[in-house]
Symmetry: C2
Subunit: 475 residues, 2 copies
């Protein structure tokens, strides 16, 4: 099962079976009404029962008339299925694994019911966009998707889509890991030439953290500067803070209410693990993260159109929000958003956890000096090398658990150079200190350049990006 | 107990006892730390335990350090306390009683922990406002309050307050009962010369009813016309639809989020009876009805001030929302709103239930013709008279259960005339048909005049009332 509605019994998807079941239910009722022959009725009931069993096998859900199969029901118990003890934990607030290699992403695709970004899809993106695929795609950093083929099919027929990504502004400090979705989103914006909306969930951070509204709004503006420094086109990009935009757009609030009407507490409890002790703000927040997935939430950009499909590039921990969104979409008459999921950027200490913005030594911050970068990598980057030079030369290091090597896969663009490093490190020709030096020399100019660009982001530019307005969108 | 924090053991309020308990807890701890004499420690603990028992008796709640007594915890189980079977049901969605006289309002004051509008308060309103009290006050139609003395104390010291009331626009049709809070609010606005905000909860109606967003917004505008026809001063009145205003005022949404952070699902479950199957929109809605209680939700009117106290005239079924609001207010640094509660306007069929906008014969609608009014009263108004004229002449009728008489207490302004009717009907001198005729002749001109005034309410006027703007407010 590579998709919640993917291959099942004899190739039938959950949706196929759902439709067959509905038709068969109608048939049984009409046979009974017509007082048909008993054998005929019994046969029809037998088929109905078999379809119900098949449906449950494929969808993981009991059939309920009028309720099409749900994507979010596939994954229950807050991101864990089956014998949870052995599973990685991945939800919007927690990412944890026992493996030094990090989360098992292939298993996650199965659990979340998404699809793998395979070579065929990467080739197709190259063909449709006419551009060499970003190294995040080539190297499996954006490793999972939902409905990308549908987006590309439509794009080939001149039907545009738009991009939506976001950030929770929980502090002023952003680290290099936070840039991953933005670097990739900028690439998508450039190669497809489409509009982009970026949500800063300052309301979410207020609800979840011990912060004031004013703190969260200040962090939103500071984070916006780092995002703008990634080079987004102001004519195609709208950045908004929830605390501002909710109160600036009746259309946005109307979509929030529509979503809120179609999601029960039971559902968010299953998807997000909320409890009765959670505040009502947390409980209703998922609708606010869902709303930008629908184009009529932005009437300035899409002139009231509700049919422009949305593509969301994000880290896979955000998927629960969008499984919920995709369940709701057809019920309120909107297209489901498509997704491209990234892996997590590992902490310097190892891939077992996501980085923490509150631990200065857990990652490289966008404000770090070249010297700090050097010290942090040398001191804290978990090494896959051997204990002594002699051992390392003899047995080689393990790049799969080496954080410096992992960071290079994110930030070194040259595939051949990276592959040579991998081989040399594995063979023992390359020592840990030499690998770290390469990472330091790769990161330092990237961070320095970011700081230069950020310095040039004026308050006036922030205001421009954050003003609801028309964008270049001609479809 | 006339207030949740009112008279209790030896005159101590729940808040008094809470403070004593906190101090006593500190004392016990410091005695233990100081390894004081066992007898002394034991005596301190005995007093602590006694205070806990007293506190529970007065507040109805267990003492919990750091949690001051809550108003909403006084009433649990969705408006019913104790042996619920014998109690009236009163919450925002249900009003039911077994008594032909209607809900027992004295019991409700005790259960809700509010205070009675007694003669002393009516006299004081007369003194402070310099106006004869409205007959709704003189006749106990606005029968219950919270903190009215505090509002009047402040007003005497030139500290203004503002009024907030509202309506859920569930249909185009409004009946005379819907006018009660507006008639009284207009009087309050006139005699105190203060600003007023009127919330149309079109989002609530969308969430609770099988209606589209467009229906609810249309009903909001239609209802606004009936409200404006009551004669509100456009320079002192702001009418808003949630679906519009939420998206027009970042300050309003900020207060909604603040409230949502400070109320848990457990709390709204206790107050409103929500269940896990309710949609997340319903669960978070109470914060939206609470937000207009705080003056900085309207920066156009109050220029960012958060300290202007709010007085809410409303039917008592809305009290659960405002008990919650009053619990939250001090925790987010705002003054608690004061309240004036009205009784329910009875259905033509009798005082056992509230009127229903969906049953045309249950009440007099604002669109009824003089003929329809006559027919409805004659045909449907429940009579407290005897079966035959002879019996009636001999034993008299019962005005306490007679709907025509009840309606006259709402709409006949002349106290002496009303009292004479009461006496004549009780003695049997006045027959049911004659009483009904008096009601018909009282209602017909009121409804006709309302229709005239409504006809003159233009779309332009509605727009004016519903535009966020500065009001006459000079304090």
């Amino acid at each position: 099962m590579t998709d919640s509605q993917g291959d099942g019994v004899g190739g039938a998807t959950a949706m196929d079976l759902y439709e067959k079941l509905t038709a068969q239910g109608d048939k049984v009722r009409s046979l009974k009404t017509a007082k048909a022959d008993k054998a005929e009725v019994d046969a029809a009931i037998q088929l109905l029962l078999k379809l119900k069993v098949d449906y449950k096998g494929v969808s993981g859900q009991d059939y309920k008339a009028g309720c099409p199969p749900s994507e979010s029901a596939v994954v229950s118990n807050n991101g864990q299925l089956g014998n949870g003890a052995e599973e990685d934990t991945v939800d919007p607030w927690n990412v944890a694994t026992n493996s030094a290699k990090g989360v098992d992403y292939d298993k996650l695709i199965v659990r979340f019911g998404s699809s793998k970004v395979d070579q065929e899809l990467v080739d197709r993106i190259e063909k449709v966009s006419g551009q060499k695929p970003h190294h995040f795609l080539r190297r499996g950093i954006f490793f999972s998707h939902r409905d990308m083929h549908q987006v590309l099919d439509a794009y080939e027929k001149q039907k545009a889509f738009y991009l939506y990504t976001g950030r929770g502004p929980s502090s002023q400090a952003m680290h290099v890991g936070h840039l991953i979705p933005f670097i990739f989103t900028k690439w998508l914006q450039d190669v497809f030439d489409i509009p982009l909306v970026i949500q800063l969930t300052d309301d979410e951070k207020y609800l979840w953290k011990d912060l004031t509204l004013e703190d969260c709004q200040r962090f939103a503006v500071e984070n916006a500067k780092d995002i703008i420094a990634c080079g987004f086109d102001v004519n195609k990009t709208f950045i908004f803070s929830d605390l501002d935009y909710m109160g600036s757009s009746p259309e946005f609030y109307r979509n929030v209410v529509k979503i809120q009407k179609h999601v029960t507490f039971n559902q968010v409890k299953g998807i997000f693990g909320f409890t009765d002790s959670d505040c009502i703000g947390k409980i209703s927040f998922p609708a606010i993260q869902a709303a930008p997935s629908f184009s009529n939430s932005f009437p300035q950009i899409f002139k009231g159109r509700k049919d422009v499909q949305c593509l969301i590039p994000c880290a896979i921990d955000q998927d629960p929000y969008f499984r919920m969104t995709r369940d709701v979409a057809p019920r309120i008459g909107y297209p489901k958003p498509a997704l491209l999921h990234s892996t997590f950027f590992p902490a310097l200490q190892g891939a077992q956890t996501k980085m923490s913005a509150s631990d200065a030594n857990s990652s490289i911050f966008l404000t770090d000096t070249p010297k700090q970068i050097k010290n942090k990598v040398n001191k804290h980057a978990f090494s896959g090398g051997k204990d002594t030079v002699e051992e390392h030369r003899q047995h080689g290091g393990n790049p799969d658990i080496d954080v410096s090597f992992m960071y290079l896969t994110f930030f070194m663009e040259d595939d051949e150079k990276l592959e040579k490093i991998r081989q040399d490190y594995s063979s023992g020709a390359l020592l840990t200190g030499e690998l770290k030096k390469m990472l330091i020399e790769t990161l330092q100019p990237i961070i320095t350049a970011h700081q230069e660009k950020r310095k040039n982001v004026t308050d006036e530019m922030v205001k421009q990006f954050m003003t609801p307005r028309s964008l270049d969108f001609n479809f």
